[in-house]
Symmetry: C2
Subunit: 277 residues, 2 copies
């Protein structure tokens, strides 16, 4: 990656809402540069006064820092954007960059209204999201067999292969009802899937993991246990993979993947449609 | 909002990674238009072959739809971007839009490498995230008093005011160790905070909710119960708000807010620093 040794650049994330979109974008763009950035998120900038305070903060940073600040903003109202843009920085505004060409393409004016992108608490999508979160919590780690038929996906895998965070992410971000069910030594002895799962084979998706990595994770929880021993991890992983192979369960290795990458791959494999956003 | 009656526009979200950044941006921009969009997310486009397939899919849509497709892409490698951009659509690429002016500002070349923006499973930040998720699950709904001193924030409020999804979101997105603790009728009878919470008053943050909304949510879970009765909800909310007021606990109303908005407001109020991203 490109090298750089200068002191930190200040990056302001400015939004009339949460700033999550602007921050996600900034993070993605800035990760392409091997530079230390100091990010300052300023959400809910929804009055003239707050816009003026933001401009002052940026100018102050411009006066003190060795580098001009960088601003990623998402400000729907032109009046607030103009105030912020008058400050001394390299400015990128999401609305201003993408909305005008879209207005031209669609032959219509954008609303330029604040707060349109998040689902508020009384929308149907919000209800889907809450239902999915409650479902995933109730069906974490094989806690309940009730209503497994209502699951969109049932994740299976050995303990600590990443099932719980992936289930919660699928529920939170996409309103997917994701249950998860551990594969434990008893299942390998019996050499068959837990019986609660057999009626739902089409919804199963497996997570596996590199045994060395698994041993490291388990050792943090239960140091020097049989559970965490490398030899035991190797066996569990091997038998879990053999079982998934034999049963025709699709699976992936979570070893080098982020939760987002695992969740996205599962949605793609199972052709799941999200229920929010 | 601007009105439009034409048939749906196809929107392709194309990425060499998960496509979450491009999708978040697209959602935010498109929500400014009162048009029905049909979104197609195409993640993990990381080979020449996959880029060609994407271009074909876009061209097919361009041939069938009444409107030209719209493409939001995030493709770090110029060779894949060029293949996709040759298709018949209105193209927006995040890298191409923002990276060149940043290269000039920073006086250096971007890495233009794929997969830089997500934390993989062996980074310290990933560990922070997992720890926070496990902490929030273990401290959901007042389940455990153990290690409350390690919490970054302890959410309090009546049952169904939004504590659980907010705690999980804070953990998942920001690596914040968020516990949550219900305020129940017994606390109001005694007219004091649960004793487990008094040593941690500086970490408390309250969620309240409009009683009518609360009654509606509770009625979905336990129809026609005392728990869900409007009169009971009114009393609980009033007494919870009085208690928070008296104890000097900061709080907000979750009634019209998304989980993202609640979480962002809490981070801002308590000046919490995220441990991931």
């Amino acid at each position: 990656m490109a090298q750089h040794t200068d002191p930190t650049h200040s990056v302001f994330i400015v939004s009339d809402g949460t700033g999550i979109t602007a921050e996600t974008l900034a993070h993605s763009i800035l990760s392409q540069f091997d530079v230390r950035f100091k990010k300052i998120r300023l959400p809910f900038v929804d009055t003239t006064e707050k816009a003026q305070e933001v401009a002052q903060a940026i100018n102050k940073s411009a006066g003190n820092d060795p580098h001009r600040p960088i601003v990623f903003s998402s400000l729907a109202k032109t009046e607030f954007l103009e105030i912020v843009r008058a400050s001394n920085a390299l400015h990128f505004d999401l609305i201003q960059t993408f909305v005008p060409p879209l207005e031209e393409e669609l032959g219509m004016k954008a609303a330029r209204a604040m707060g349109l992108s998040h689902k508020s608490a009384d929308s149907a999508e919000y209800g889907n999201r809450m239902d999915a979160i409650n479902f995933s919590l109730a069906h974490d780690d094989g806690q309940s067999h009730k209503n497994l038929a209502n699951a969109d996906v049932i994740l299976v895998g050995v303990s600590r292969s990443g099932k719980t965070p992936t289930s919660l992410y699928l529920a939170m971000q996409y309103g997917i009802r994701a249950a998860n069910y551990p594969l434990i030594p008893e299942d390998f002895e019996r050499d068959s899937l837990p019986s609660a799962l057999t009626p739902h084979k089409d919804k199963l998706f497996g997570l596996s993991i590199n045994p060395e990595r698994l041993a490291a994770i388990r050792n943090e929880r239960l140091p020097n246990s049989k559970y965490a021993a490398l030899e035991n991890c190797k066996q569990e992983v091997q038998r879990a993979e053999a079982m998934m192979q034999r049963e025709g369960i699709r699976w992936l290795s979570s070893t080098t993947k982020s939760i987002e990458e695992i969740a996205t791959a599962i949605m793609q494999e199972l052709k799941l449609e999200k229920r929010v956003g």
